[in-house]
C-alpha cells in the first residue's frame, strides 16, 4: 500500500517523485530519479533492481514503454509489481500487476503519472493528479507535495473500515546536475504527510543559504547566525 506521483516540470525540465506509504523509510527506496534522464519507480512488492536498471536503459535511449517490456521479461514476479516510468521528454509507461493487493491502479495526465495500491479507491489517484495540476506555475516540489496531500485527503490507504496511516513519505526532485536538487524525507512518523510538509517548508527557507555556501562560501554567514535571523523574521 503506497501512493505516488512521478512528474516533470515542462518549463524547467526538472523531474521528480512524491511518495507516501504505510511502510517505513520509503524515501530510502527511491533511487530512480535521474537528472536529464527520467524517473522510474517500482512499488507494491518492489523489485529493487528495477529502478537503477530503468535509469540505465533510459540513459541509453530506450523509451519508457520498452523499458517496461524489459522489466516484464527480466522478472518472474512482474505481475506483483506496480511501476511507473517517465523520460525527460515526458513520455511515460505504467504497469499495475494483477498481483497488487487492495484497490490498485494508475492514471496518466499532463507531465505526470499517479499510481497506488492498497488504496481506498480510484478517487485517491484522481485527487493526486488534481493536486499536481492545480498550480503548474509552482516549483515541482510543491506540486508533488500537493499531489500526495490530495491523495491523503481523498482517503489514502486501506478500505473504509481499515484505513492505514501514512508512516513514511518523501519528495525527490532533480534539476540539470547529477545530484538531487530538492529532497526531503520522513521515515518513521504517525502522520508522515503532514510532517513532510513541515520539513519541506523548512527546507525551502534554507535552500538558498545552503546553495550559497556551495557556490560562494567566502560570503556565507555562519548557520547559527542565519538561524537567528530566521527566528527574528518569524517573531
Amino acid at each position: 500500500m503506497t501512493y505516488s506521483l512521478i512528474g516533470r516540470c515542462a518549463r524547467t525540465g526538472r523531474l521528480g517523485l512524491g511518495i507516501t506509504t504505510f511502510s517505513l523509510a520509503v524515501g530510502g527506496r527511491c533511487e530512480g530519479v535521474a537528472a536529464n534522464i527520467g524517473v522510474c519507480k517500482t512499488q507494491a512488492f518492489p523489485n529493487r533492481t528495477n529502478d537503477p536498471l530503468g535509469i540505465k536503459l533510459m540513459a541509453q535511449g530506450y523509451l519508457p514503454a520498452r523499458v517496461m517490456d524489459m522489466f516484464a521479461a527480466n522478472d518472474t514476479e512482474h505481475s506483483y509489481r506496480q511501476v511507473a516510468i517517465m523520460n525527460r521528454d515526458g513520455k511515460v509507461a505504467a504497469h499495475t500487476g494483477p498481483g497488487c493487493r487492495g484497490w490498485a491502479g494508475h492514471k496518466e495526465d499532463l507531465d505526470c503519472v499517479a499510481f497506488g495500491n492498497g488504496l481506498l479507491g480510484p478517487q485517491v489517484v484522481d485527487a493526486m493528479i488534481e493536486g499536481f495540476l492545480k498550480r503548474p506555475e509552482d516549483a515541482l516540489e510543491y506540486r508533488l507535495m500537493r499531489a500526495i496531500e490530495g491523495g491523503r485527503d481523498a482517503g489514502g490507504q486501506g478500505p473504509l473500515d481499515a484505513h492505514r496511516a501514512e508512516r513514511s513519505a518523501a519528495i525527490k526532485v532533480v534539476d540539470r546536475r547529477d545530484f538531487p536538487d530538492v529532497g526531503v524525507r520522513v521515515d518513521v512518523h504517525p502522520t508522515a504527510v503532514a510532517e513532510l510538509r513541515r520539513v519541506l517548508e523548512e527546507f525551502k527557507l534554507y535552500e538558498e543559504f545552503y546553495r550559497g555556501r556551495d557556490t560562494d562560501p567566502a560570503k556565507a554567514i555562519p548557520q547559527d547566525v542565519f538561524v537567528a535571523q530566521l527566528k527574528a523574521k518569524r517573531a
Binding site: S23, A25, P46, E77, R177, R185, V188, F203, Y206, A220
Partner: protein, 239 residues
C-alpha cells in the same frame, strides 16, 4: 558543522556513512556511496558536484589521493570543503580545508575516516573513531550509528553561542547492488541522533520482511498483519 564516519566494511566490502549535523536534511547530500566502487563525502561548505564526480573517478580506478587532488584542482573554493574518499579496497584519504570554521579535522583509520567541523574539539572525532573500532563485531550499520552517537556524547558541535544540537542525521549502507541496502534519514528534529536510532531500531524489525516480500510476493503476509504480529511479540516480551 557536521560530524561523520565514512567507511568501508572490511568484512562485507559494503560502504557506508553515519552523519549528523546542525544543518537540516543532511541525508540529501550523502550521494557518494556506491557498492564495489567506493565512498566519498564532501561537507562543511558542500560542493554538491564533488560526490558524483568522485564516484565516477573511483569507478575508473583512480586512487583516492588522485581523486582528492582532482576535486581540489576543480574547485576554486576547495579550502572551504571537508572531503573524504575511500576506494573499493578501503584505501582512504581525507582533507579538512584551512577555511573550515570552528574546530575542524579528520582522523584516518583502517578503511574509515572520522571527520567534522565546527566541533567541540578533537575529542569528538577521536570518540567516533574509537566507537567505530571497538564495535568491530557488530553489523556495519550499527558501527556507523555507534560512531555518531559517540561523537554526540563527546560534545558534538559548538557554534558561536555554545553547543549546537543535531537537527538532521542519516545512516546509509551500499553493498552488492546499485540500490541502497540501508538508507535512513532524519531531516528535521531537535534530537536527530536519538531519532535516527529510534527509526533504525524500528526499521530493523521490518528489513527482513521487506526483503522477502520483494523476492516472494505470492506468499507475503499483508503488512498490517505483520505489524500486528510485531505488536504481539512486543507485548509478550514485556510480560
Amino acid at each position: 558543522m557536521t560530524f561523520t564516519l565514512l567507511a568501508r566494511c572490511p568484512k562485507t566490502g559494503q560502504v557506508g556513512i553515519g552523519i549528523a549535523t546542525y544543518s537540516i536534511c543532511v541525508g540529501l547530500y550523502c550521494n557518494g556511496l556506491r557498492g564495489n566502487t567506493g565512498a566519498t563525502m564532501t561537507q562543511a561548505f558542500v560542493n554538491q558536484g564533488n560526490n558524483p564526480l568522485a564516484l565516477k573517478l573511483l569507478a575508473q580506478s583512480y586512487m583516492p589521493q588522485h581523486v582528492l587532488d582532482e576535486l581540489k584542482a576543480n574547485d576554486p573554493y576547495h579550502e572551504y570543503r571537508q572531503i573524504a574518499v575511500i576506494d573499493r579496497l578501503g584505501r582512504t584519504v581525507a582533507y579538512s580545508g584551512p577555511k573550515n570554521r570552528g574546530w575542524a579535522g579528520h582522523k584516518v583509520g583502517e578503511g574509515y575516516v572520522a571527520m567534522g567541523n565546527v566541533l567541540a574539539g578533537e575529542q569528538v572525532i577521536d570518540a567516533m573513531a574509537k566507537a567505530y573500532e571497538v564495535t568491530a563485531d557488530l553489523a556495519f550499520e550499527r558501527r556507523l550509528l555507534a560512531a555518531i552517537e559517540a561523537g554526540r556524547d563527546a560534545g558534538g558541535q559548538t557554534g558561536n553561542d555554545g553547543h549546537l544540537t543535531e537537527r538532521s542525521a542519516a545512516v546509509m549502507v551500499y553493498g552488492d547492488y546499485d540500490h541502497a541496502e540501508l538508507d535512513l534519514r532524519v531531516d528535521l528534529h531537535d534530537k536527530a541522533v536519538e531519532e535516527l536510532r529510534r527509526a533504525f531500531e524500528e526499521y530493523e524489525l521490518y528489513r527482513g520482511y521487506y526483503k522477502e516480500r520483494s523476492k516472494n510476493p505470492k506468499d507475503a503476509m499483508p503488512q498490517y498483519a505483520f505489524v500486528q504480529s510485531l505488536a504481539k511479540g512486543k507485548k509478550e516480551a514485556a510480560q
